[in-house]
């Protein structure tokens, strides 16, 4: 049910604009963080570098004093980075069938396989299609 609904949502979005089925780019995630929390980082976490777990922990620890704008956005920004990273890690597993059936050229390296899968070969599994989108490789 949950999967069916998420899939339906993906379909609707994909129908309107293919780019929207993807997760957020690192650039946009990082920009949201820098723009929403820049002042808060200077005030509360000066000297903490953009090291995701450390910076997140610092903002969380100081959440009583960080701005509402930062509070509303920082978790979302870190989650978006994480989501894309996880999708990339899981790509191999989610696309194993597709690799064997559609992109099995023995000369292919990892990037070639992903580039081949990103062309959405006919008969491709939905899980792989979604994984490619979430990894930002469409």
């Amino acid at each position: 049910m949950i999967q069916a609904r998420s899939f339906a949502l993906v379909l609707v979005i994909a129908a309107t604009s293919p780019a929207l089925a993807e997760t957020m780019s690192f650039e946009n995630s990082a920009a949201i963080l820098g723009e929403s929390c820049g002042k808060d980082i200077d005030a509360n976490c000066f000297g903490v570098s953009f090291d995701a777990p450390r910076l997140k922990e610092c903002l969380y620890r100081n959440q009583d004093s960080v701005s509402p704008q930062c509070k509303a956005n920082y978790v979302r920004a870190f989650d978006a980075i994480q989501k894309r990273l996880v999708a990339r890690v899981n790509l191999r597993k989610n696309c194993e069938y597709d690799r064997k059936h559609f992109c099995a050229d023995p000369q292919y390296g990892y990037a070639d396989v992903v580039a081949c899968l990103a062309k959405t070969p006919r008969g491709m599994t939905l899980s792989c299609k979604q994984a490619i989108g979430e990894a930002g490789y469409r």
């Binding site: 690192f26 946009n28 920009a31 929390c37 980082i41 000066f46 390296g109 580039a115 930002g136 490789y137």
Partner: protein, 200 residues
């Protein structure tokens, strides 16, 4: 799915949409206006270059210690071979006298991470080069540039999971001035990304 989750997702998507729309207009005016620009500029490396980072680090240290080329005006670059490779200069803001990158530059860090994880560049290796202007002590500038280059690399590796095998870092202090006619100009404080390796 919980109620409201769709809404949040839609809002996030809308935000991305708006940001894309806003950033699309002036794109390509600057050197590294988009991740694609970065990819395009680095992907042109013909073949793996012979860059011995450890040796270069020693060479820079020796020059600074020996006080050779003492005058900073028109000081010859210590590693001219790097300038022949595909590279990109980035204006990254750091906290004063610190290797910590300022939040104003997070967007650029994310952009670089997008570029380095682009499929076209996945088999490439890079050198992150730190540069300083000639204000302050030469030794201190060398140390700070090294720490800043490493800090830039560390964010790419820890936050964006770019393989550490693909990126090395080196500081060249004020030994490779980007504007040797104006050694104290702020334009000399840059982080450079140089494409050095192609293929596994």
């Amino acid at each position: 799915m919980q109620p409201g989750k769709n809404g949040r997702r839609d809002l996030a998507l809308l935000t991305v949409c708006l940001m894309l729309a806003l950033s699309a207009a002036p794109a390509r005016a600057q050197q590294a206006a988009t991740a694609e620009d970065i990819v395009d500029q680095l992907v042109v490396l013909d073949a793996t270059a012979d860059v011995d980072v450890a040796a270069l680090r020693q060479q820079v240290l020796d020059r600074v210690k020996s006080k050779a080329n003492a005058v900073s005006l028109r000081r010859p670059p210590i590693a001219p071979q790097l300038l022949k490779l595909p590279h990109l200069d980035l204006d990254i803001q750091f906290n004063p006298d610190s290797p910590v990158i300022r939040p104003d530059s997070y967007r650029m860090l994310g952009r670089v991470a997008d570029a380095l994880s682009d499929l076209k560049l996945l088999s490439f290796g890079f050198l992150i080069v730190g540069h300083m202007d000639s204000t302050g002590r030469r030794e201190d500038n060398l140390t700070l540039s090294q720490r800043r280059a490493e800090s830039f690399r560390d964010v790419l590796v820890t936050t964006f999971k770019i393989s550490p095998k693909r990126i090395q870092a080196i500081g060249l202090g004020e030994e490779q001035l980007l504007d040797a006619e104006h050694p104290k100009a702020a334009v000399n404080q840059q982080i450079q990304i140089v494409a050095v390796r192609k293929g596994p």
